[in-house]
């Protein structure tokens, strides 16, 4: 009986619920336009000394943040001239009407004050102008000369708070700097901030260096250098400058890359015209062979969880992209388009694999899902290759060569970045020609 009453009640419930249902509208589309953003000048605490005031950090830090956010293609920074409210009141309590008036959706404000021992306290706040609320507030402590790093970290926080995805501004890019004529090219290992600032050279240039790759877990770099005309794999600690030869193999080694935990190096190793994929434990130096195929298998790259490996192989007759489990089993071909595919790199997010494709004498940088579906070519050019992912898996850096003229002049390599939309392609300024870039993880860690 009770049960029946329940049934009846339930029926009535359904009935009434439905007749009073709200009009419901599904919003499944929106725009991907850059978000209008106002970055106010920071304000300086009055106690700051003249030596710090001279640095003009109150405008330099916001400018760097603005530069970062604009370059990402996801933010549209509004002109400072249009701002109505002054930095100090804006930071303490913004008049949202004033900011809404200039049609910004978010506002960044900040304050710089002095701490003990000449250290600075840089505080920023992120405001939602439309909803008139504070979204986040954080303070960083640093020495005055480290202001660029702090600006990058603030940029990352803003980026993450608004897009839902980790930023990539507090990171570095290592690359091969090239100088001199084509026939006698001097190649040095160099490192810089992701925005192209602060280039430092890590090798002298008396040996040829190739394919530097960052460890995702530490400040180590692996790269190749020629020794007695044989390419060898080296490890370099960027902080200490200590360089270390990794093993001594009788054949040629190529394309070394770290495992996600930074404990192993995966590379291809050629012997008598056959190239296979090997891993080597950095500590124990134990070597393991993963593929055993008469074809050329090369360019291995781990998935971010370390359980899969992607590589390219010509076992089908043409160079294509394959994946396998990290123990070498379950090999699967994933690229089936026309043309040749090379240099596969697994995204740090795990969902995509970036690659270089050669098709009808043009080079493309593209991405596909890790099962090979959804191939998208992001950029096409005369010659470009070696994509490397930014730590958040949204932007790629690669190098592009321009053809030289008939007299052999011109034609150099430069670094470029492109995001996953394929529309936001940007040159990264370097003092010399540059190739083979590799993007580091976030310096402040994950």
């Amino acid at each position: 009986m009770k049960y029946k009453i329940f049934t009846i009640l339930a029926l009535f419930f359904i009935l009434t619920a439905k007749s009073f249902a709200l009009v419901s509208v599904d919003i499944t589309r929106g725009n991907l336009d850059p978000l209008p953003t106002a970055i106010s000048d920071f304000y300086l605490d009055s106690k700051l000394g003249d030596n710090i005031k001279k640095l003009q950090l109150e405008s330099k830090i916001p400018e760097l943040i603005q530069n970062n956010l604009s370059r990402s293609g996801l933010f549209f920074a509004l002109e400072k001239k249009s701002f109505i409210q002054r930095p100090e009141p804006a930071h303490n309590k913004p008049r949202f009407e004033d900011w809404a008036f200039i049609k910004t959706q978010v506002l960044v404000t900040g304050k710089i004050s002095l701490e003990k021992e000449g250290r600075l306290r840089v505080e920023f706040k992120l405001w939602d102008v439309v909803s008139a609320t504070e979204l986040s507030a954080l303070a960083f402590y640093t020495t005055p000369d480290n202001w660029r790093r702090v600006s990058h970290m603030i940029s990352d926080k803003i980026y993450e708070r608004l897009t839902g995805e980790k930023g990539y501004f507090d990171s570095r890019i290592i690359f091969v700097s090239e100088t001199g004529p084509k026939v006698d090219r001097k190649k040095r290992l160099a490192i810089m901030d992701q925005d192209g600032y602060g280039v430092k050279y890590l090798t002298l240039g008396n040996e040829l260096v190739l394919t530097p790759r960052f460890s995702p877990a530490s400040q180590h770099v692996t790269y190749m250098s020629y020794f007695k005309n044989l390419p060898r794999v080296y490890l370099l600690n960027i902080e200490t400058g200590i360089q270390d030869l990794v093993g001594d193999f009788p054949g040629m080694t190529f394309a070394p890359r770290f495992s996600p935990d930074g404990k192993k190096i995966i590379m291809s190793f050629a012997q008598e015209g056959n190239s296979d994929i090997y891993t080597m434990d950095i500590k124990t130096r134990v070597v393991e062979k993963l593929t055993d195929n008469p074809s050329i298998d090369t360019s291995p790259s781990y998935s971010p969880d370390g359980s899969y490996i992607t590589f390219n192989s010509d076992r089908s007759g043409f160079q294509q992209i394959y994946t396998m489990k990290s123990d070498g089993t379950n090999v699967k071909r994933i690229s089936f388009g026309e043309g040749l595919y090379g240099t596969p790199v697994w995204s740090p997010r795990g969902d995509l694999i970036a690659f270089t494709k050669l098709y009808r004498n043009k080079f493309y940088i593209g991405v596909m899902r890790s099962d090979g579906s959804g191939e998208r070519l992001l950029t096409e050019n005369y010659y470009q290759e070696a994509p490397s992912w930014a730590p958040n898996g949204r932007v790629l850096v690669f190098y592009r060569e321009t053809p030289s003229d008939s007299s052999g002049r011109g034609g150099g390599a430069k670094l470029w970045s492109i995001d996953l939309t394929g529309y936001n392609e940007r040159l990264i300024q370097t003092p010399t020609d540059a190739s083979d870039p590799s993007w580091s993880g976030l310096l402040s860690g994950k």
């Binding site: 009986m1 029926l11 009535f12 009935l15 509208v25 599904d26 919003i27 499944t28 929106g30 991907l32």
Partner: protein
């Protein structure tokens, strides 16, 4: 034994009665022609043309509808443009109202026809027209007087049907919000992240209030993505204030639930 049989019999018949009332309703879209009721009078306005394809072939279906008149429908084509001129005087409305209330019997509607046919001159008069007019007058009053409208006394079927926006109206609202909504592109596309926002509007389309329906989820740890999506959705609602709204049917859209879901966009 007998007692429980009785109980069982009574309970079963209760369920039978209830389900006979509710089930056709639960099936939904039982009588599609009902959809047209309110918007039809607004034929003059482009944006308000209701979605009622079944009745659009006017004359043919007209007869059918007449035969099974249950409500005061009028197919769009037979509502002449001059209609507003023909709005009956207040006394007439009263009369008509009275008649309408007894209107279960179609014959009485016929009487009504005779009375007003002079008013309408020699035009062949359709009882549906009158009722449409009445409906309109009711509607206009509805906003001012909180009196329950005729519709409210109709079957619940009708109530439900009229609580929907027409497709054109819905599209017009969607299109506005699409433009205002800046999608946070870093959100995962393989998670269920629908944000439901309830908005209340003034008759002029300006926003009275907006409220996230799963507010608790906003401040739950590990729901950062949800929070970011919800914030962007709230911004969209506020940026779109005031919304351009249909000129009629305030009751229908004065409260709406907007379901923000960026999955499709992010997948692309």
């Amino acid at each position: 034994m007998q007692k429980s049989l009785k109980i069982s019999f009574i309970a079963h018949s209760v369920i039978l009665i209830i389900s006979s009332i509710t089930l056709p309703f639960l099936m939904g879209r039982v009588q599609a022609p009902l959809v047209m009721s309110v918007d039809l009078v607004q034929i003059g306005e482009r944006t308000n043309i209701p979605y009622a394809p079944k009745v659009s072939d006017g004359a043919k279906t007209d007869k059918k509808i007449k035969d099974r008149v249950v409500t005061e429908q009028a197919p769009p084509k037979i509502v002449p443009k001059e209609k507003p001129d023909a709005v009956p005087l207040p006394e007439n409305i009263k009369q008509i109202k009275e008649l309408l209330e007894k209107r279960q019997n179609p014959v009485k509607v016929e009487d009504l026809t005779k009375q007003t046919s002079e008013f309408e001159k020699k035009e062949i008069f359709d009882p549906n027209k009158i009722s449409a007019l009445i409906d309109k007058s009711k509607k206009d009053n509805a906003d001012a007087n909180s009196k329950p409208s005729l519709e409210a006394t109709q079957s619940q079927q009708k109530n439900v049907v009229t609580s929907k926006l027409t497709i054109t109206q819905e599209d017009a609202i969607k299109a506005q919000i699409f433009k205002c909504w800046n999608i946070p592109i870093g959100l995962p596309y393989n998670e269920n992240l629908t944000v439901r926002i309830k908005i209340k509007l003034n008759p002029d389309g300006s926003l009275v209030s907006s409220e996230i329906l799963d507010q608790a989820r906003m401040n739950t740890a590990g729901q950062t993505y949800y929070k970011i999506l919800a914030e962007s959705a709230l911004r969209a609602v506020k940026l779109c204030n005031p919304l351009k709204v249909p000129s009629t049917g305030y009751e229908k859209w004065k409260e709406m639930q907007l379901n923000f879901d960026a999955k499709e966009m992010l997948k692309g």
